[in-house]
C-alpha cells in the first residue's frame, strides 16, 4: 500500500477523528471561557491568556515543587486563577467602566495584564518548556481499530461534564438567567433589579473554571512556556468569531471544527505549515462571514434550504 492510500485508510481517518476530537477538548474549554466573557461583559478578554498561564504554573509548582496530590494542585490552581481574575475585575475593569473608558483602553489593559503575567512567570519559571507531570504519555487501549488513551477519555469527559453543567446552570439557575439577561442588556437588566457587577464576577469565575480545566488537560499532555497561552487564546478568539460573536454554542462548534480541520490537515499539508490554517480561516471568516457562520443562513445562501 503506498503512503497516499495508507493515509485514506478508514482506520487512519477514524484515528485522526478521535485524536482530533480529544485534542479539541481543551480548545473548546478555552473558547467557552472567552466566548462567555465576550457575551456577558462585552469584553475581548485578552487577559484570559494570563489567567491560563497562572492556572498552569500554580498547578505545575504544586505538583512538581511541593509534591501535592493532583486534586489539591488543581484546586490551588483554580483558587489562584480566581483570585487573580477577581483582582483584575474589581481593581481594573470596574475602574475603567466607572470612567466610561474607550474600548481602546479596555483592550490595552487586558492585553498588558496578559503580557505582565507572561513576563512575571518567565522571571520565576524561565523559558524552558515544562509539562504538568513528568510523564506525558498515558496508557492506551485499542477500541476497534482506534487507539484510545486514558488522557483522551479524561479530556472528552471533563469537557462534556463542564459543558453540560454550564448549559444547565445557564438554563435552570437564577444566576444563570441573570447572566443571560445582563448579556442582552446590562442597563435594562439593572432596571429590573439584577446586579450586573455580580453577573460579571460570576461570568469571570466560570471562565476561570474553564481556563483552569483546559490548562490542566493541555499541560498534562504538552510542555508549556509562559507565552504559550497567548497562542492558545488566539484559537479561542478565532473560534468565537467563526461561531458568531455572542453565541457560545456556535463558538464551541467552531472550536471542534477548527481542531478537526487542523488534525486532518496532516494528510495534505506539511506539519510546519499547519499553524497557518488558523490564520487563513481568520481571514476567510472576516472576509466572507464577518458575523460568524450560522448554519441555517449558510444553507440559505448556498440555495440548499
Amino acid at each position: 500500500m503506498d503512503s497516499r492510500a495508507a493515509m485514506l485508510d478508514p482506520a487512519v481517518l477514524a484515528q485522526i477523528l478521535w485524536t482530533g476530537l480529544a485534542t479539541s477538548s481543551y480548545m473548546v474549554l478555552f473558547t467557552i471561557a472567552f466566548a462567555l466573557v465576550l457575551k456577558v461583559l462585552k469584553l475581548w478578554n485578552f487577559a484570559q491568556a494570563g489567567m491560563m498561564a497562572i492556572a498552569f504554573y500554580v498547578m505545575y509548582a504544586a505538583v512538581n515543587h511541593f509534591n501535592w496530590p493532583t486534586a489539591a494542585a488543581v484546586a490551588l490552581g483554580f483558587a489562584a486563577t480566581l483570585a487573580a481574575t477577581l483582582a483584575y475585575e474589581v481593581l481594573g475593569l470596574r475602574t475603567l467602566r466607572a470612567r466610561r473608558s474607550s474600548s481602546l483602553l479596555f483592550f490595552i489593559f487586558t492585553l498588558v495584564c496578559s503580557e505582565f503575567t507572561a513576563y512575571a512567570l518567565t522571571l520565576i519559571f524561565g523559558t524552558e518548556p515544562v509539562p504538568l507531570f513528568p510523564e506525558i504519555l498515558s496508557p492506551t487501549r485499542i477500541v476497534g481499530s482506534v487507539a484510545v488513551s486514558n488522557w483522551d477519555l479524561l479530556a472528552v469527559c471533563v469537557t462534556l461534564v463542564l459543558g453540560i453543567a454550564l448549559a444547565l446552570y445557564l438554563r435552570l439557575s437564577r444566576d444563570g438567567q441573570f447572566l443571560l439577561a445582563v448579556s442582552d442588556s446590562a442597563e435594562l437588566a439593572e432596571l429590573y433589579g439584577i446586579d450586573a457587577k455580580r453577573a460579571y464576577v460570576v461570568a469571570l469565575t466560570i471562565a476561570s473554571v474553564f481556563a483552569c480545566a483546559g490548562m490542566y488537560l493541555y499541560g498534562s499532555r504538552t510542555a508549556v512556556i509562559p507565552t504559550a497561552p497567548l497562542q492558545l487564546m488566539l484559537f479561542a478568539v478565532i473560534a468565537t468569531l467563526l461561531g458568531g460573536m455572542g453565541s457560545v454554542v456556535g463558538a464551541i462548534l467552531a472550536a471542534v471544527f477548527l481542531s478537526l480541520l487542523q488534525s486532518y490537515s496532516v494528510l495534505i499539508i506539511p506539519s510546519q505549515w499547519q499553524g497557518l490554517i488558523l490564520y487563513v480561516f481568520l481571514f476567510v471568516t472576516i472576509l466572507f462571514f464577518p458575523n460568524g457562520i450560522h448554519p441555517g443562513a449558510l444553507l440559505r445562501r448556498l440555495g440548499l434550504a
Binding site: L241, W273, V280, F283
Partner: protein
C-alpha cells in the same frame, strides 16, 4: 563609543515606530497591535533586496516602506469595512501568521533569521553616519506626522475618532481615511525596519512577536497617546530604562522578563493614574479653533 551609537540608532528607530504607532492608535483610534510585523516587513524586504540584488540602501528602505504600506491593506481592507474590533483580531492573526511564514521560508532564513545583510558603510564613520540617518529619519517622521495631525486632515481624523457617526453624517468616508492612516503608519514602521536591518545586519523572527507590540504600546501610553511629542519622550525614556537596569548586574535570563514586567507595569499604572501620559495631547488653540 560604538555602544553609544547603537543606542542613538535604536532611539531613532523607536521614535519612528512609536510615533507612527501613535498615529494609528492614538490619533486615529484604530485598535491594532501588529506594528512589529510591519517593522519586520521593512527589515526583511530591505535585507533581501540588499543581499540578492545589491540595491542601494535608500531605495531598499523606500521599497521596504512601500511593501509594509501595501501589506497593511491586507489587514485594513477586509476588517475595517466591518468594524474597528475586527482590525484588532485581524492584526494579531496577520502578525502571528506572517511570522509563521517567515519562520518556515528558506528565503527569509527560517527560524535562524536573515544574516549577512551587507552594510552600505564600513569603517570608523559607520556608527555616526547611521546615528545621523536614524535620528534624521526620526525627526522627519515626527515632523511629517505633526504636519498631518495639525492640518485640516488631522482635524478630520480626530473628528472621525471622536464621533464617527457625526463624521459619516457630514458625508465623509471614514473607512477610506482609516485605511489611509493605517497604511501611512505602517509604511513608517517599514522604513524603520530597513534602517535596523542595514545597521545590525541581522534580523530574526522572534524580534517581532506579540511581546514586541507591548514595548511599542508602552512607549505610546507612557509618553502620551494622541500627542505628537509623547511617543518621542516615551521611546527615549523606555530605551534608557534597560540601560539603567543593567547596573543591577542581574543574569541575562532575568533581565528581559524584568524589563518586560517594568514596561507592562508602567502601562497599567499610567492607564489608571495618568491616562493622558507624560505629555498630554495638545488642545486646539482658540485661534486655530476660530479658523476652523
Amino acid at each position: 563609543m560604538e555602544y553609544l551609537y547603537s543606542i542613538l540608532i535604536l532611539v531613532g528607530i523607536y521614535v519612528v515606530l512609536a510615533s507612527s504607532f501613535n498615529l494609528i492608535i492614538g490619533t486615529a483610534g484604530l485598535v491594532s497591535i501588529a506594528h512589529p510585523i510591519f517593522f519586520a516587513l521593512g527589515a526583511y524586504t530591505a535585507g533581501l533586496l540588499a543581499i540578492h540584488f545589491g540595491l542601494n540602501p535608500f531605495a531598499a528602505a523606500a521599497v521596504g516602506a512601500v511593501v509594509a504600506g501595501v501589506f497593511s491593506l491586507m489587514i485594513s481592507l477586509p476588517s475595517l469595512r466591518v468594524s474597528g474590533d475586527y482590525l484588532l483580531i485581524t492584526s494579531i492573526g496577520f502578525q502571528l501568521g506572517l511570522l509563521q511564514v517567515i519562520k518556515n521560508l528558506e528565503l527569509t532564513g527560517s527560524q535562524g533569521g536573515l544574516n549577512n545583510i551587507p552594510t552600505p558603510i564600513a569603517g570608523p564613520e559607520r556608527g555616526w553616519i547611521f546615528s545621523a540617518v536614524s535620528l534624521a529619519a526620526a525627526a522627519a517622521t515626527v515632523l511629517v506626522i505633526r504636519w498631518i495631525v495639525r492640518g485640516p486632515y488631522g482635524r478630520a481624523i480626530r473628528a472621525m475618532r471622536d464621533d464617527e457617526l457625526a463624521f459619516l453624517a457630514l458625508g465623509r468616508d471614514a473607512t477610506r481615511m482609516k485605511i489611509m492612516i493605517f497604511a501611512v503608519g505602517c509604511a513608517f514602521a517599514g522604513m524603520a525596519g530597513a534602517i535596523y536591518a542595514f545597521y545590525f545586519q541581522y534580523v530574526s523572527p522572534e524580534q517581532f512577536e506579540i511581546l514586541a507590540s507591548g514595548t511599542m504600546l508602552t512607549m505610546v501610553v507612557v509618553g502620551g497617546m494622541g500627542s505628537t511629542w509623547g511617543p518621542v519622550v516615551g521611546a527615549v525614556l523606555l530605551l534608557a530604562l534597560p540601560q539603567a537596569i543593567t547596573f543591577l548586574r542581574l543574569p541575562l535570563a532575568y533581565m528581559a522578563p524584568l524589563q518586560g514586567m517594568i514596561f507592562t507595569l508602567l502601562v497599567i499604572l499610567f492607564l489608571f493614574l495618568r491616562p493622558q501620559g507624560l505629555v498630554a495631547p495638545e488642545a486646539p488653540s482658540p485661534v486655530r479653533a476660530r479658523r476652523k
